[in-house]
Symmetry: C2
Subunit: 449 residues, 2 copies
C-alpha cells in the first residue's frame, strides 16, 4: 500500500511519475465511467447530516479534484497539494467499494428493460404485497437459504424503497391505531443516528422516539429496534429492554458473511434487510422485510401504498438480477467461474480491517472495538467480525474526536449523533479504494493530538 | 366495435369463431408478454381502496380468465360465460392503455443498466436535490418546454417515488415547524380520494385534513390542493379559498395534451407531475415537483431523504429514456417516424370519449360532465377536454351508483370517496382496450335501473 507522507521527501522525478499516474488513472476512470460521472465522486454529502457548511466544503473539494484532473500537463506540486487538501468524506456509508466486483462480471449482470415492460402499478395481485415483483421475491428467498442468515419459511415479504421506508412502515404497522398517546420507540445507544429523526420528523401521534433502550423503564407497550451487527459499533445485539410488551424490529442490514460470522438463521417477528449493504447497489433503493404476522405485513403494505403507491419495479427487477448473480457466484464457487461475491467482499473487508488495525495500533492516539471470533456457518470456519463501519475512539485529552479529525480533513460522524460521547466517531469502511488509502495515509500522519 | 349482448343471440358457428378468436388473442398475448405476465392483468386491485372482499373477487376473476385461456379446445359456452362473468375493475387509474405505443417503438426505448452502474446513493452533489439524476432533470425540462405546460426557468426540480411521495414532501415542507397546532390541508370536492387518508394516516402534528375547500372558512394559514384538470371530474381548476395565507400545491398530473387543451404554461409556486399519467409507466414510480422557493425545495428533499434516502436511479434513468422518446416523437412528427406519442394518445382518448358518449347518450340512465372546448397551444387548434377518468352520474332513482354498477360486475370508485354524493362514480379510461370494450358492452346492456 502506497503511503504519502505529509512532508515532501520525493524528488521531482518521483513527483512527476506519481502525478502522471494519478492523472492518467483519474482521467481513465472519468472516461470509463461515462454517464456515471456524478455518482462515484468520493467527496459527497452524507445521507442524513446534510448542512450548508459540509455541502460547500464538498463542492470546493470537487472543484479541487476537477482542476487536478483537467490536464496531464498540470504541475506535480498542484496535484500533491490537491491530494493533501482533499476532504475525505467517510461520514456516510456509501457502499461504492463493491463496484469493482460488478465491473468484473461484465455483461452478465446487465439488465435490459423494454419500453413497454413493467408499466402497471401491480406486480402480483395474489400477494398481500401486491407491488412485490415475483422474480425479486424468489431471489430474496434463494439467497437467504443459501447464506443461512434468515428463516424465510412462513414469512411474508414486503418490499420497500430501501429499508428506510420499511422502517417507517414497521413503526406504522406496529403502533396501536387508537391509543391515547404515541408508543415509544427505543434502541440501545449507540444507535443508528437517523432513528430519532426518522421517528419524530412528522410529529406522529402514533409513535415517538423514546431514547436509549438501556435506560428505558416505562410500563406498557413499546417498540424496540435491534440492529445486529450494530450500526455504528459492529457488535452483535439482542433485545435490551426484554419486557413482555415489547414489539421488536430487527434491522439486519449487516448480517451478511462479509461483515460478521453467520451463526444461525435469524427467526424474528419482523426483520429488515437492504440491498445496498449486501451488494452495494444503494442507488436502486431496494430493501425488504420478512414478516411473521399477516396483519403486520398488510399494514406495512398499506403504509407503502399511501407513501409511494408501491416500489419501483425497474429496481426490483435489477435487484433480482444482482441477487441472482450473488447466489450463482456462491453455487459456482468451486468451478472455473472465479471467486464468489462473498469471498471477494470478505477478503476486501479482512484486508481493510488488517490495514486499519496496523495503523491504529502503531500509536496510542486512537482505539478500535475488539470482537470475539465465532463459527461462520457460511464459510464453515471460525472468523472475526469485520464491520462496515469503524467505531473509532480518540484516546487522551481529545474530547471531540469528530472535530479533531475534521482538522485533518477527514469527515466522520460524531458519537453524539449515535446517542453517546463525542470521543467516538463512526467512519465508513465501504468507500472506494482511493478514499480508504488516503484515509489511512492521513490517519498514520497524525502524530499527536 | 364488437358488442356482446347479455342474451345469447349467436349461432354456434358465431360463438365458435368468437371463442377461437378470443382464445388465440389471449394466448398470443400471454406468450408475447413473457415475464410481464403478472403485470398486465386487467382485473386487479385498486391503489388505495383495497379490501379483502375486492381482493378475493379479483382472484376469482383471474382464475376464471386463466381457465378460459388454458386450451383452444375449451367449449364456447364456458368462454362466453367467463367473459360475461368477468369483473371489470375500473376503480383504479392504471394507465396500461399506453403499452401499445411503447411496443410499437421496438428496441429504441429499451434501457440497459450495467451491473456496476448507479450504485451510489448520490446522483449530483451540486444539486439541492442530491439524488436527482441529471439526465432525467434534463428530459423533464425539455418536455415541459416542448409541450408548453409549465414554466421551468427559475425552478428547482425535486424527484420523488411517484407524485404521492412528493405530495407528502410538500405537506412537510409547507407546514410551519413550530406551530401550536397542525395546519389545515383543504381541497375542493370532488377531490382525489386519497388526499384525506394520505394527509391523516400518520396523525401528524404538522398538518391535518381540513376538508372541502368550498366550505373552508377558518382564519390563518392553510394548504390548498389544486388538481387541474381535476381528478375525478376532469374540470380545469383554480384556487377556491383565495385568501392571503394560503399555501398552494398544484397537482397537474393530467395537464398533458392527450387529456386537456394546453392553454398556458403553469407558473405556480409548487407543481407536481407524475410519469405514470403522461407515458403510462406507473410501475417506475417516478414523479417530480417544480418548486419556486429554494427553502421549500430543500425541505422537500429532506423529507425524501428521511423517507427513503432518495429515489431509484434505475427508474430515473428509465424515465429519462421514455421522456426523451416522447420529445423525440414530437420533434420528428412531420418526418417519416410515424405519429408522435401525444398524437397517438390524443387520438386514443378522443375515440374512447366518443364511444362512451354514444353509449351513454343512447339511454337516460347515466350522464357525463360537459366540457368547454379551448385553444390548445400544443396541437394549435381548438379542442375539447377528454379526461383520464369518467365522472359518471346515475340519473333517476339510483342513489348508490357504485353498488348498482357492481351488480353488473363493473368496479368503480364511489363519489363518496371523493367527498360528494354516491350518485357519482369515477371510472378509469386508461385501462386496456379489452377492458374498455367490455365495459362499454356491459354499460350498453343495462336497460333499466
Amino acid at each position: 500500500m502506497a503511503k504519502i507522507p505529509n512532508t515532501v521527501l520525493f524528488s521531482s522525478k518521483h513527483l512527476l511519475v506519481l502525478s502522471l499516474a494519478l492523472n492518467v488513472s483519474l482521467i481513465l476512470r472519468m472516461l470509463y465511467e461515462g454517464e456515471e460521472r456524478h455518482n462515484n465522486i468520493s467527496c459527497h454529502k452524507n445521507g442524513t447530516d446534510f448542512d450548508t457548511k459540509t455541502h460547500s466544503s464538498i463542492i470546493k473539494s470537487r472543484l479541487v479534484m476537477a482542476s487536478s484532473t483537467s490536464s496531464l500537463a498540470n504541475s506535480t506540486c498542484t496535484d500533491l497539494k490537491a491530494r493533501s487538501n482533499r476532504i475525505i468524506n467517510l461520514d456516510h456509508g456509501n457502499p461504492t467499494v463493491y463496484e469493482k466486483f460488478w465491473r468484473q462480471t461484465g455483461d452478465k449482470t446487465n439488465i435490459i428493460i423494454r419500453g413497454w415492460q413493467s408499466m402497471s402499478y401491480f406486480a402480483d395481485v395474489s400477494n398481500i404485497c401486491w407491488f412485490l415483483v415475483p422474480e425479486f421475491a424468489k431471489e430474496v428467498m434463494r439467497l437467504h437459504r443459501l447464506v443461512g442468515n434468515a428463516v424465510t419459511e412462513g414469512r411474508y415479504i414486503v418490499v420497500g424503497t430501501g429499508s428506510s421506508q420499511l422502517f417507517l412502515a414497521a413503526l406504522y404497522a406496529l403502533s396501536p391505531s387508537h391509543a391515547n398517546e404515541p408508543i415509544n420507540v427505543v434502541c440501545a445507544a449507540p444507535y443508528y443516528s437517523s432513528y430519532p429523526t426518522m421517528t419524530d420528523y412528522l410529529k406522529s401521534g402514533l409513535y415517538k422516539w423514546g431514547g436509549d433502550a438501556n435506560s428505558y423503564e416505562k410500563d406498557g407497550p413499546y417498540i424496540e429496534l435491534i440492529t445486529s451487527p450494530n450500526n455504528p459499533d459492529g457488535h452483535v445485539r439482542t433485545s435490551m429492554v426484554n419486557r413482555s410488551q415489547g414489539l421488536l424490529v430487527h434491522d439486519l442490514a449487516y448480517y451478511w458473511p462479509q461483515y460478521t460470522p453467520i451463526s444461525f438463521p435469524a427467526d424474528n417477528d419482523l426483520t429488515l434487510f437492504t440491498l445496498s449493504k449486501i451488494t452495494g447497489h444503494a442507488g436502486s433503493r431496494i430493501g425488504w422485510a420478512l414478516v411473521k404476522d399477516k396483519e403486520v405485513a398488510k399494514k406495512m403494505t398499506k403504509f407503502i401504498e399511501l407513501n409511494s403507491i408501491g416500489v419501483s419495479k425497474d429496481s426490483q427487477l435489477r435487484a433480482a438480477k444482482v441477487l441472482s448473480a450473488v447466489s450463482d457466484s456462491c453455487e459456482q464457487e468451486n468451478s472455473q467461474e472465479g471467486e464468489s461475491f462473498f469471498e471477494f467482499s470478505h477478503k476486501l473487508m479482512t484486508k481493510r480491517w488488517k490495514q486499519l488495525r496496523e495503523v491504529v495500533n502503531r500509536g496510542e492516539l486512537f482505539s478500535l472495538p475488539q470482537f470475539s471470533p465465532a463459527f461462520c456457518n457460511f464459510f464453515n470456519q471460525v472468523l472475526e467480525p469485520q464491520p462496515a463501519f469503524v467505531w473509532l475512539k480518540c484516546e487522551g485529552n481529545v474530547e471531540d474526536c469528530g472535530s479533531f479529525l475534521r482538522e485533518h480533513k477527514i469527515l466522520t460522524r460524531s458519537g453524539k449523533q449515535f446517542g453517546v460521547s463525542t470521543k467516538y466517531v463512526r467512519i465508513s469502511l465501504l468507500d472506494t479504494d482511493e478514499s480508504f488509502t488516503q484515509f489511512l495515509d492521513r490517519l498514520s500522519s497524525i502524530k499527536s493530538m
